[in-house]
């Protein structure tokens, strides 16, 4: 067949058909492996999610059955009611995370918030969240302390322009992890400070500090990926969705801020960083 002159320049040097088949076969195999790994990871993720949703519901179901048992004393029935309340709180938190995840993806694609940012008293928000998690922390004699002086010194009476529900969920996720993975009888501290951060400049940093499970330094970056759970965390608490830190990071990106982690041995400090321009 005659090829017109203007097409000749784009024609690649011919490979032998054997070479081409080998190349395509190798490419095909690599894609198959990639697809199979993605499927496996997705399946694992869905199983984790299912487990996280089923476990509290199952516990609630059995507690209700025990409530109906005439042989169970009134004081124990009262404990069962508290337990049902705790499990329901866990479920609400989880489901909010999933709802948030789908909204956040859409917001990030649009590059704008679904809800309008408003000036928020972030110290009040931290105190309220600390109070919410206090009962869970108290089960293992842990304490959550808000370092109010650090907030007063850093904020100088200013508020933070943000979407309250999103930041509350991000902070809740940090607190939930701290409560889950810190040592019994330890103290979790929430504090504020100003710091200069690469690519963002001057920032307001809200930190959640705890002592307990060491985090492997080579996993620091991966911790913020969807579905990833640190190896030490998995050993201590086998079940988990691995979306809490991922969501917290997305929330901070949407606020033109960032999330960070500093670990020293068994001490971990997760940081939410807002650009100082958000102080109003």
């Amino acid at each position: 067949m005659r090829i017109p002159n203007d097409h000749k320049a784009t024609i690649q040097p011919q490979r032998s058909s054997g070479e081409e088949v080998a190349r395509l076969t190798a490419e095909n195999s690599a894609l198959k492996v990639e697809l199979s790994e993605a499927r496996k990871s997705n399946q694992q993720y869905l199983q984790n999610v299912a487990h996280q949703l089923t476990a509290p519901l199952g516990a609630i179901k059995w507690s209700i059955e025990a409530l109906k048992d005439p042989e169970v004393s009134l004081s124990r029935k009262s404990k069962l009611l508290s337990s049902i309340y705790s499990q329901a709180t866990i479920l609400v938190h989880l489901i909010k995370n999933f709802a948030l995840m789908s909204n956040l993806e859409a917001d990030l694609e649009l590059g704008q918030f679904r809800e309008r940012p408003e000036p928020v008293d972030i110290l009040r928000l931290c105190i309220n969240l600390a109070n919410d998690f206090q009962p869970q922390a108290a089960e293992n004699e842990k304490k959550i302390v808000v370092d109010e002086d650090s907030f007063a010194g850093t904020l100088q009476g200013k508020k933070v322009q943000m979407v309250k529900n999103l930041v509350a969920q991000a902070l809740s996720n940090l607190l939930e992890n701290a409560v889950k993975y810190s040592d019994s009888r330890s103290t979790i501290v929430i504090s504020a400070e100003q710091a200069t951060v690469d690519k963002i400049g001057d920032t307001l940093v809200i930190s959640v500090r705890s002592t307990g499970l060491p985090i492997k330094t080579d996993e620091n970056e991966q911790l913020f990926k969807r579905g990833f759970r640190g190896s030490t965390a998995k050993q201590k608490v086998p079940a988990g969705t691995g979306i809490g830190l991922y969501l917290a990071k997305r929330v901070m990106v949407l606020h033109q801020g960032a999330i960070g982690l500093k670990t020293t041995g068994r001490d971990s400090r997760f940081k939410l960083m807002f650009p100082l321009s958000r102080l109003v």
Binding site: Q47, A59, K61, W62, S73, L80, V237
Partner: protein
């Protein structure tokens, strides 16, 4: 009084079981990992171990994958303490992981899904009370 040992890192599940079993005269012990469970077995005469699958192995077994700790505990109990009856309570969704349990001498019940009364009855039978033991797998 017969003793039941619950091994699970989600101990709130067992409040309801404990409250239903104690009035029937059983003593209930709790461990949140395999190491603690085996320590308790060294110091207590236990009739039935009720175990989860996914849970921490604890300090003595750092190389056990926490996703499979229960399988290790079951194998260890069946080889070293065959007199102890085992009831496995778990919510593992992957059927292929559960299948090997069918060949072992134990009951397998889905945690939180099977009615509480069924679990109580299964534990009572495993303890040698409440009639002839029939292996349950549901």
């Amino acid at each position: 009084m017969k003793t039941i040992l619950f091994v699970d890192d989600e101990p709130w599940f067992h409040e309801s079981l404990r409250y239903a079993l104690e009035p029937k005269g059983y003593e209930c012990l709790f461990a949140t990992d395999m190491t603690t469970a085996l320590d308790l077995l060294d110091t207590h005469e236990v009739a039935v171990v009720v175990t989860d699958i996914m849970m921490p192995a604890g300090t003595k077994f750092p190389n056990i994958d926490s996703q499979e700790t229960g399988f290790h505990l079951i194998r260890k109990l069946q080889s070293e303490r065959p007199q102890i009856a085992i009831v496995c309570l778990s919510v593992i969704g992957d059927e292929s992981k559960i299948r090997p349990l069918r060949t072992l001498r134990l009951d397998y019940l889905r945690k939180g899904e099977v009615p509480l009364a069924t679990v109580i009855q299964t534990i009572e039978r495993a303890a040698g009370d409440g009639g002839e033991r029939v292996w349950r797998f549901s």
